[in-house]
Structures are given as structure tokens and as C-alpha cells.
Symmetry: C2
Subunit: 394 residues, 2 copies
């Protein structure tokens, strides 16, 4: 038998903790607040079916042939309008279609990170971004957050310590895993800081459109006067994640090279799917669909918070997301949420322990709860089960 000599990009041990969580949570008996899955019952199946049929009738063989790395022009034109609603003026040449935001993160990281480069991230943050950055050999510096998002004072300190930091990775809206949103003032400060230190910002915005309370906040990209911000978004949360379709907005100097890397990675994104999404948005008002999702998620978030406040023991803290999919919970005392997970899974309820999301030092007793994927009944029952387990441990 051969022994593969894997490259340094490959993790030495297959430590797929999160995979184990999802495996356990996939038991149909389990009420799962673990994943980051949209509500499947809200997928517009018939409308997407109709759009697909229209695409075959209207474009035929064109959608089955190879196409360009940058993506379908018709779709990029529609994304120009989506970006305008997000207060970012751009044009089709500065938009590239990707095979989901995960690919945008991976390729951007690959383009910017050399081994030992420093990347600043929110602490905690999206675990698959951490994995990507690590795979390219980055040194990851976690910056603590409060209710207004990443702490600019601490970020400045760390940037002074590592003045050659390559990139700041941030999820400004309804952050994964905390559900927190970066305040308007801090958005401006973050861009200023990037300008001052000559670093880049990777603005990951998969959830921003799903705002169900509070005020719209302009993206970091909208404050970017020096082309330092690379903006990522996706159709996964606003339409359907199975379609694997994201986009990236960046200036032309970045884009020229990005398209070479994109071509190396998978030539171009599935052409049929690009046309389907474009046609869906011609046939339907996606804003109406997003409104529908947002209202449903608001009800679920409100219910989950109500139940947490009512059932979890005193001293438990949680975030109050104004959108997105996640609530962040902090337990008092010394409760280990990895241990709590083990008890909960025996009682058929799942979440993701905070330990998965911290790039450096883990803050114990924290965990992420998803509210988008479970029904009201499941939310009520699941919180009851969790509350019982927490009380047992306290």
C-alpha cells in the first residue's frame, strides 16, 4: 500500500470535529440547531423549475457549452443592481461569478496568503474560513468582539504589532457564529484602519440581505476609496445553497489575476445554474422572496430567544441578531460546551460548541444555535431538552 506524501496544505490529522457534529445531528430523531441550513420548505421549487424550463427553451445548447471564467453576463448585470441596493456602485467587469462563497474565500486566500502571513479575523469566526487560511500557512490573529462587532481598539493594537498583516477577514452582518452586526461607525473605522496600514479587507456578506429588524447598514465596500475591500456574497442564503453560486466584487487589478486562478480552479462555474438563477430573477422579484424568508426567520429567532430567556438558567447570555441565521449563547460559570454537546446529543438535540469557531484560544461555555432550519414545535422542544441538560451540568 502506498503512503501518500501529502503537501503542507493538507491537515496532518483528519480532525473533522464539525463533520462529526453534523453526522450526529443528521439522525432524524435529533432536533438540530447545529447546521447553517436555510429553511427548505421556503425554497421556491416550482419557480426554479419554471425558470429552468424557460432557460432550455430560450437558450438551449448555449447553457450546456463551456463559457468564460468571469461568468454569465446577464447574471452579472443583475448583480450590479443587487449591489446598488447594497449601496455599492460597480459594473459587470468588477463582478466575477464563483462556485459559492466558499470558493471566493478559498481563491482569495490563495491569491493573497504566503506561509506565515498574518490574517486578522473576528474571534470567534466562520470555521471553514479559518481552515482555508490555515491551509495556506497563515498565522491567524483573532480579534475579540462585543455587541457592535470586532473591537477596533484591539485590532489597532494588533495591527501595530503586525504592521505587515495581509488581510482582515470580516463578516459584518449577522456574523457567523455570533449573529452580531458591525456598527456603522466601526465600518468606517475598519476601512480607515486598512488604508492606514495598507492592508486588505475580505468582506464576507452571505447573510446581509436577510435583515429582519433594525436599520440597513452600508457595506464596508461602500466606504472603500482605495480599492482595499474585496466583497463576497452568495445566492445560498437568499435562494438555494444546493445551487453553489456566489459572487465577488473587486477592482480590475485584482480581477485580472482572480480570473486566472478561477480558470485554474474549475474553468468556470456551472453554466446552466447561472442561467437558472438569472432567469429566476427575471421571472420573479427576488426581493419578495427574501422578504418571505426574513419574516419566517424573524419569527423563529424571536421564538428561540423567548424560549432561551424563559427556559435556560439565570446568567445565560445570548446575542440578539437583527437578521441571518444564528444566535450565540454564553453560559455562566465553568460549563464546558463540548461536554454539554455530548449530553445534549444523547437527549436528541444538537448545536455547535463554540470551540469550533475560535482560531486561537477557546472561550469555554459558548455555543452557536441556528434558528432557520427548525419548525416552531422543534424549537420549543429542543430548547426544553437543552435547558434540562444545562441544568444538569450546573
Amino acid at each position: 500500500m502506498t503512503n501518500y506524501e501529502f503537501s503542507n496544505s493538507v491537515p496532518k490529522k483528519v480532525n473533522d470535529a464539525i463533520g462529526e457534529v453534523f453526522k450526529a445531528a443528521s439522525d432524524p430523531e435529533v432536533i438540530s440547531f447545529a447546521g447553517g441550513l436555510p429553511a427548505p420548505e421556503l425554497f421556491p421549487v416550482q419557480e426554479i423549475k419554471q425558470a429552468t424550463s424557460d432557460v432550455f427553451d430560450q437558450y438551449g445548447k448555449e447553457v450546456l457549452q463551456y463559457s468564460g471564467a468571469i461568468g454569465y453576463k446577464g447574471l452579472r448585470e443583475q448583480i450590479v443592481d443587487i449591489m446598488a441596493e447594497r449601496k455599492v456602485e460597480t459594473n459587470i467587469d468588477n463582478i466575477a461569478i464563483t462556485t459559492g462563497s466558499q470558493q471566493s474565500i478559498d481563491l482569495t486566500a490563495r491569491m493573497l496568503i504566503n506561509p506565515n502571513d498574518v490574517i486578522f479575523v473576528e474571534d470567534p469566526t466562520y470555521l471553514s474560513a479559518i481552515d482555508v487560511f490555515k491551509s495556506y500557512g497563515a498565522k491567524i490573529i483573532g480579534i475579540p468582539m462585543d455587541d457592535d462587532g470586532i473591537r477596533i481598539d484591539v485590532l489597532r493594537e494588533k495591527m501595530e504589532k503586525y504592521p505587515n498583516g495581509k488581510m482582515i477577514y470580516t463578516i459584518p452582518n449577522f456574523q457567523n457564529p455570533t449573529g452580531r452586526t458591525l456598527s456603522l461607525e466601526r465600518r468606517k473605522e475598519l476601512v480607515s484602519l486598512a488604508n492606514e496600514f495598507g492592508t486588505h479587507i475580505l468582506e464576507d456578506d452571505p447573510y446581509g440581505a436577510i435583515r429582519f429588524s433594525g436599520e440597513f447598514l452600508p457595506s464596508l465596500k461602500s466606504f472603500d476609496t482605495e480599492e482595499r475591500v474585496i466583497y463576497l456574497s452568495s445566492f445560498s442564503k437568499i435562494l438555494a445553497p444546493g445551487l453553489r453560486m456566489g459572487w465577488l466584487v473587486a477592482d480590475s487589478k485584482f480581477m485580472d489575476k482572480f480570473l486566472l486562478m478561477k480558470q485554474s480552479a474549475d474553468l468556470h462555474t456551472d453554466n446552466l445554474t447561472q442561467y437558472i438563477i438569472s432567469q429566476f430573477m427575471k421571472n420573479n422579484d427576488i426581493k419578495q422572496h427574501i422578504k418571505l424568508i426574513s419574516e419566517a426567520y424573524k419569527n423563529r429567532a424571536d421564538l428561540m430567544i423567548k424560549q432561551i430567556d424563559k427556559k435556560f438558567p439565570e446568567g445565560v447570555k445570548h446575542s440578539n441578531p437583527e437578521g441571518g441565521m444564528f444566535i450565540w449563547v454564553e453560559l455562566p460559570g465553568n460549563i464546558d460546551s463540548d461536554e454539554l454537546f455530548k449530553i445534549c446529543i444523547k437527549n436528541n438535540v444538537a448545536f455547535v460548541s463554540g470551540s469550533a469557531f475560535y482560531p486561537n484560544k477557546v472561550t469555554k461555555g459558548t455555543f452557536r444555535m441556528n434558528f432557520s432550519n427548525m419548525s416552531d414545535e422543534q424549537i420549543i422542544l429542543g430548547i426544553d431538552r437543552m435547558a434540562k441538560a444545562i441544568k444538569e451540568m450546573m
Copy 2:
């Protein structure tokens, strides 16, 4: 304006020679033998439309949700059967679905190559594979070919010189760009050599199913007793490349890590498209479709060779492919095919100069001609134009 500090993965200069070729060739006035595009008029548009409609009716929201990195089980089961026809016994756990073969090459390279690792390739070979290997810092050693494929004697010499070579990359069937096929004996020798030196083989087989003459030859993977061969194939040439769907066959030690990398790269391949291809193969006999394509391509290849023999000047050599999409042409004397391209494009006919395909030293006067994408009339007229240009240069 910002100055990006790109990583070492990014080419210093944007030198997209091949992009320029395709740009020139995309003028509708130009008869293009440049690309590697299937014949779009043979795409089974109505059958794929029907399969899609069936998928929505039968599976609904399931195809729009996130799914696993390894890919749709139903499709992997069908690929087990496809592999059995190619004389490779495998099972669903050793098959991963990828976003096209380009992704399989990229991720496999990323998993195996550290900077300065040696990769052996056929000389000339698929240019986007060269680009991928270079982006990971590989040292690429081209091994000359003859009509029976890669020369094993030279490969052995080079492997003795570089005994720690990481991988042999080969396209055994109807190779890109030469159209040549590796003989049965050399297939066995190549696997023995890999065993002897403890190296891996990346067997890239996008064209193998499109055989229109000669005898079927078993894949390298079928001779692999030490799990050294990673086998890649794709639906791009046998069904439709716009769907971006490939697969990889490897043993479990490789697969465990591959799935982590796949997850980092794009979470999983477009779920809807996986179901569409699976449903297409349930509704239709894909072997019949492949037969149809192969017959059409045989006619075009025969015609192109007939015209080359008749119209090109004496002393011109060409390969005689038994399948696939490409013919390789070698001009006598000192003709520079980059220069020939310039004259040809002025006369509205295009091909790809050999210079794009050589990883090390370019053999002048060589070029690749694609026969799958043009009609009989275009083939006749295009060869006339090329013959005129070649005579001008001689």
C-alpha cells in the same frame, strides 16, 4: 490605489496567451480549430430538459439544499458501473464528485505538491495542468512522446535522476494536445515504474470513452495494485461541459483528505446538476449518446486528416487519433507556428500553436487542431486557408 501583494501562487505577469487565442478565434468570421469544445448541435438539450423536470418533480427541495462533499450517492452508484465498463472495480466510497476535471487536477495537485517537488508530464501536455502544477511551485519535467505515448525509457532515466518525483501526470487516451494513445504495454510499464520508485500517477481520462477506431485499452488504474493511481474523468466530453461535473477515483487514505480539501474549495459540487446528470442516465442510455458523438467525431477527424493529407505541403506529419478531439501537426523545416497563427488569424482560421503545450523547451512548427467543433464545410474551408498560409511561409 492599492498595490496587492499577491502570494507566490499567482503568476507575476498576466500572460494569458491562450486566452488571446480564444479571443481571436471567437470572431464569428473565424473558422476555429483552436478550442477543445464538443459539438453543441449534439447536446441532448430536450433529454436534459426532461431529466431536470423529472428531478424537480421527484426530489423537489432536496436538490436545492446543501449536501455532502463526496457527492450525490445515486450518481456515484452509476459511476461505479461506468468504471466497471472501463475495467476498474471500485465502489461509491472511493468515488468523489468534483466541479469538473479541472477541479480534480487542482485539488490533487494542491494535496500532493510542495514547492520544488518534481512532477513528470508528457511533453507536450494539457496546458492548464501545467499552469496548476506551476502555481503550487512544482518543477515540471517533460518526457518526450512517440506514437505510442510517453517514452518509458526516457521517463525511467528522469526518474532515476529525480527519485523523489512526486507524481506522473498522464492523459493516456487521445491525449491533449497530441491525440496519441498510450499503448497497452506502456500502461503496464508506467504502473510498474510508479511502484518501483514509490511515486503516484494522476491518470486524466476525459476523452477515453470517445473512441471511434482501434481497440479499447484498459486504464492505468486497472493495473494499479498499490493504490498509486488517482483516476479522473468527467461528463464534459461525453455529455455537456457547461454542467461542470467530473469525478475522481482513489483509495480511502487519499479520499479522507481529499474530502476535507473539497469542502474547503467549494463545500460540494452543484447539487441540482448532480441530480440532473443522474436522472439523464436513468432516462437515457448514455452509451448510445456516446456512440452518436463518437461517430460524428470520427467523420470529422477522417475528413480533417484527408484534407490535411491532400492540401498541406509535403513533409507535414500528423497524429492519427483513434478518438477524442485533437490532431497534432508537425511542420517540416523551421516554420514558427506562433508566426503561422498570426497569418492564419488574418485569414480567418485559428488553431493553437504548440508553444502553449510544452512545459520546458518548445518544439517549433507544431500545433493542435480540434476537429469536434466545426462542420464539414468549415473543416474543408479552414484547411484550405491554413494550407495557403503554410505555403506562404515555406
